[in-house]
Amino acid sequence: MFESIEQTIARLREQQYICDRKLATVVFLALQMRKPILIEGPAGVGKTELAKVVSAALGRALIRLQCYGGLDEAHALYEWEYGKQLLYTQILRDKIGQLFDGVDGLHEAVARLNLHEDVFFSERFLVRRPILQAIDSPDPVVLLIDELDRAEEQFEAFLLEVLSDFQVTVPELGTVTAKTVPFVIITSNNTRDLSDALKRRCLHLFIDYPDERRELEIVRLKVPALRETLAEQVIAVIRRLRALDLRKAPSISETLDWARALVLLDADALTPALLEETLHLLVKYERDTQRVSEQLTWIAEPIQGQSVPQSTTTTTPTPLPPQRPAEPDAMSLEQRRQEHTARYFTSYRGRTDGRTGGA
């Protein structure tokens, strides 16, 4: 158990997870209030990672439930082992026969069988799936429900009982209440809106790309072999890439991949040529590659000038790329439509719709 917000930050740092105060506050509160956390954010900013480090920092086991379309209770909660039940009945046939020794009359036999009825619907024949495991565990655990947005809405509804009361109802056995309250972390990539009922039961945490200083810290921590100046250049370039309107902006995991690649390539300093060669580590879509190539000189600015002097001390505002000449009609409708789709699911620039609220 974490004692304070400061301690939370420190303990997570021990696990090589660098977080800001906002995130630490939410983790601390969730532990204190015994509420689940719902984490949203772009891919690759460490949503799943958080669950792993929290379980390590608390010394609890991590139970993970990966969601997918068509996931149902049988895979998430429990399932009866019909095969085993059947097998046991066959094997125990003699024993069951013995049960009726000296019984006269059908009534008495049924009554006697009745005494042993619950044998075959006992916990012995229950396969525990992640959620029941987490609820039933004698030691507190961390339960990670990953990418919940992939599962159907009905599955969310089914999670509600677990999340608010930490209990599960098995019709044949009754209600299983948690012996110890698990620490639940739910992640979502926001491919669809989760239901309000679920959101209401959770503390909401939105993880965005970290600021310059924190990202540099992360790179230093995770890729210590990377040269100091190179690390700064890497971050500067990544930040410029994010400022471009890309379909999939490079996230922390891509930054780290790139940094590791640069170490492997034994690079002394970033050059525009090197940047171009390794670009496919950062940019994953054809259209994005084109866009980056167009802006390559601007992206490479921090590499060429030996500048970015203030990067270690202050957070500079995100630089903006030079404006391209407007070409509104040149884009085909299909392309615009795709962009719309992409924008829903990948960007989190807040409310950009000009809405002022109210009726």
Binding site: T25, M33, G69, Q90, G350, R351, G357, A359
Partner: protein, 507 residues
């Protein structure tokens, strides 16, 4: 403290954030768990407990900064206040001087029928978003501060009263122009009148304020500022109206009404038969979402547990395999239909389509709009086709004589009926997308799309004219999954063939 949080939640809600009581309770409970000396901690706590949608985050940040900051004047007046200032500070005061803006920004008589409360809502927002001095100097005297002082001096009820008087004057003026709602031009005489009236109202307000025993300096400062603003107001208004007029004139040729109207809405037997047939085809084409549970049926995969169980009587030898498969649920529809004059000749056809959809599909909710949006599902369920369509057109349900306002209709739908849209719902919008220069409110359509399984837009206008004269289709089109031109049965038939074959993607 609790009161402050409550107030904050109230303000968030007013700006359209959905917050349940459980969430505010969470927030209060969470605040007891940490020490409150740190502003950022409080921010993080309120953020994670109250805001559950990333799209609301920026709004939250803005409001938090505004709400939980000590105003400069208040600090000097009451240095002892350790907690956030009384929450009322951000509410009442600005309305007084936001009046010119409200009138200047929307001079088309739109507010005519809205009551006092609505107008005040509008003012509150314009203050909080600091839009209020859009027509004045950008670095104007901070009205919020003035207002805070008013509140701190506990003259709220007086201010309130003054405000109400001023607003009633304004309101009376608006009502006079109600008949202009459907007309296109503005004349400058009206502009001058409006400006005079607003000036009067503000003067009145100032008079009333001076009756109260307020700080003299403050009052003088305010009145100087306001007079400056008022002096320029007629000119600003005029300029605004001129601009508006120019826009109108541009769009005049294309927004003309169809010359003839059809008094007879009856359908021939042939028409009905054709429509029914096409909609039935549509119905077969459209699949609902894949259902969650498997069903036992003659086809599908072998379900081991069910097979074992059923064959227990044969000692576990699977004589009777049990097959299960996922079944598609019946599709759900929400139809939003424009029935204004400009699409009157096609609206009849559209409503016929809606009526048929409603009878053939299981769960259909239909809505009609012109200026306002009403649900017509009940009428279509109860009445015959001819009566139902006549009921829509004769104006008893909604005023069909005004200009259609897509932005308002979409916003209403978003605010009131969004619950009708689930991930299994296909939303169909029928209309030409001509919102008559009203704000198009594309965000509302985006929100609908996000919730819906699929969003289709059927427009009676040919694609070529979408870019001409005040048509918002270019804005709406990329948001929809699909847009099609449908004007008559033949086209509907063609669209039906191509439409849903490629559109419905199975999960």
């Amino acid at each position: 403290m609790d009161a402050a949080i409550n107030r904050f939640v109230f303000l968030l809600k007013r700006r359209g954030v959905r917050i349940s009581p459980a969430e505010s309770l969470d927030a209060m409970q969470a605040l007891t768990r940490v020490s409150l000396c740190d502003r950022d901690t409080v921010r993080a706590i309120l953020r994670c407990t109250l805001i559950k949608d990333v799209r609301d985050l920026s709004l939250f940040e803005e409001l938090f900064d505004q709400f939980f900051s000590l105003p400069k004047h208040a600090r000097s007046a009451e240095p002892a206040t350790g907690l956030p200032p009384p929450p009322e500070t951000s509410l009442q005061p600005s309305a007084a001087v936001a009046a010119p803006e409200a009138a200047g920004g929307r001079p088309d008589g739109d507010h005519a029928h809205e009551d006092l409360l609505d107008i005040r809502d509008y003012f509150d927002e314009s203050q909080m978003a600091t839009h209020f001095n859009a027509h004045q100097d950008p670095d104007d005297f901070s009205l919020a501060e003035f207002g805070q002082n008013l509140v701190l001096s506990r003259h709220r009820e007086l201010l309130d009263q003054a405000l109400r008087n001023a607003l009633q004057l304004l309101k009376a003026q608006r009502v006079k122009h109600a008949h202009r709602a459907g007309e296109l031009n503005f004349d400058e005489a009206v502009a001058a009148l409006d400006a005079d009236l607003i000036a009067d109202a503000v003067t009145d307000l100032l008079d009333e304020l001076s009756d109260t025993d307020l700080d003299e300096n403050l009052l003088q400062k305010l009145s100087a500022r306001v007079t400056g603003g008022i002096a320029r107001l007629p000119e600003l208004l005029k300029r605004h109206l001129e601009r508006e007029l120019a826009l109108r004139q541009e769009s005049l040729p294309t927004t003309e009404r169809p010359a003839r109207s059809r008094p007879d809405y009856r359908f021939t037997e042939q028409e009905r038969r054709d429509m029914t047939e096409i909609v039935q085809r549509l119905c077969r084409r459209m699949r609902g979402a894949r259902s969650y549970r498997r069903r036992i049926g003659p086809q599908g995969r072998i379900s081991v547990p069910l097979t074992l169980r059923r064959n227990m009587k044969y000692e576990g030898i699977p004589f009777q395999p049990v097959l299960t498969r996922y079944r598609d649920e019946k599709p759900r529809l929400a139809v939003i239909c424009d029935v204004s004059l400009s699409v009157r000749n096609t609206a009849r056809f559209m409503l016929h389509l809606v009526y048929n959809l409603q009878t053939l599909f299981e769960r259909v909710r239909s809505f009609a709009f012109v200026g306002d949006l009403v649900e017509i599902s009940a009428y279509f369920d109860r009445l015959g086709i001819d009566e139902a369509i006549a009921a829509v057109f004769d104006g008893s349900l909604l005023d069909t004589e005004v200009d259609s306002n897509y932005g308002r209709a979409l916003e209403r739908f978003h605010n009131r009926y969004l619950a009708a849209v689930t991930p299994q719902t296909t939303v169909i919008v029928l209309g030409d997308g001509r919102g008559n220069r009203n704000p198009p409110q594309v965000w509302a359509l985006e929100a609908i799309r996000r919730r819906a399984k699929r969003l289709l837009w059927l427009s009676p206008e040919s694609r070529g004219s979408w870019r001409m004269g005040g048509c918002d289709m270019p804005l709406y089109e990329p948001v929809c999954h699909q847009t099609e031109v449908v004007r008559n049965l033949r086209q509907l038939g063609q669209v039906t063939e191509s439409l849903l074959r490629r559109s419905v993607v199975r999960p």
